[in-house]
Symmetry: C2
Subunit: 137 residues, 2 copies
DNA sequence: ATACCTGCAAAGTCTTTGCCTTAGG
DNA sequence: CCTAAGGCAAAGACTTTGCAGGTAT
């Protein structure tokens, strides 16, 4: 938590009540969350409105602390980049549940090769497996 | 083309002018396209409107001929599932260009393991690499 | 003949911006 | 103090739906 706030300070963000609350909520998430998820979170509902969350998320993204994911049909989801970020997810197309896969990155080597072959920099990836889960089948 | 239309017939879709035109345009695409891309395509612009394309895409998705992808920040993109579908893409976060990677699927084995371990069925995946391309850097 | 399909317009949903106020450094 | 951040309301950008009329089978 302090690490994150220090990075914010270093990047000239002001440490406001909203920022600390949002970072706090983001830290306790096991899965990526949407803007709407945050808006309705009890710790945020009363202290800041949607616009503040929206802009704060973008600031965090700009300074490289937050990753935006696009796997939901409608709307982005966000996850902190700190620590052991998961980049692989398993999603049921029927009930919509998402689980992070706790596996070694299966495309790390490929990513390095791509960087070499294509000249792309700052490579990262997003890998989602979709299917129908055991319950829904 | 005939294969696709036959599948449509088998699934009780009516073979309308709009359907054949949309399938035709989809077949000539090398990359996934958005609803807006289709709407402005010269072969479609005059013969059908956005709603028709929207609903046709959903019908094609329902009968399993079309895949919906979510990698663009805003709005879905679609690609036919026929033949050698690409499931891996390389995307520049600055200029937004997308290229399909012509590589052997790097997660095929993992996908089979997942099916076995989790009980998921109908597994498929979406893998996107993001970065900054050589020109934009 | 009868479902299904189409087009237009309108309603939704979620994101983004303008502008004035508040408060961090 | 000075400038970034917050809040409200309104504008955007797409997507989705209702309904009347057209068309494939």
């Amino acid at each position: 938590m302090e690490d994150i706030l220090n990075t914010c300070r270093a990047k000239k963000l002001r440490i406001t009540k909203a920022l600390t609350a949002i970072v706090g909520v983001l830290m306790e998430q096991k899965l990526p969350v949407s803007l709407a998820d945050l808006e309705s979170h009890p710790d945020l509902r009363k202290i800041c409105d949607r616009t503040t969350i929206f802009r704060t998320l973008h600031r965090l993204e700009d300074i490289g602390l937050l990753r935006r994911l696009n796997f939901s049909e409608r709307g982005a989801k966000f996850t902190l980049k700190t620590g052991h970020a998961h980049n692989e997810y398993l999603i049921c197309e029927d009930c919509g549940t998402v689980q992070a896969l706790d596996i070694a990155c299966p495309v790390h080597k490929l990513e390095e090769e791509l960087a070499k072959e294509t000249g792309f920099t700052k490579l990262h990836h997003e890998l989602e497996f979709y299917g129908i889960c055991a319950e829904c089948k």
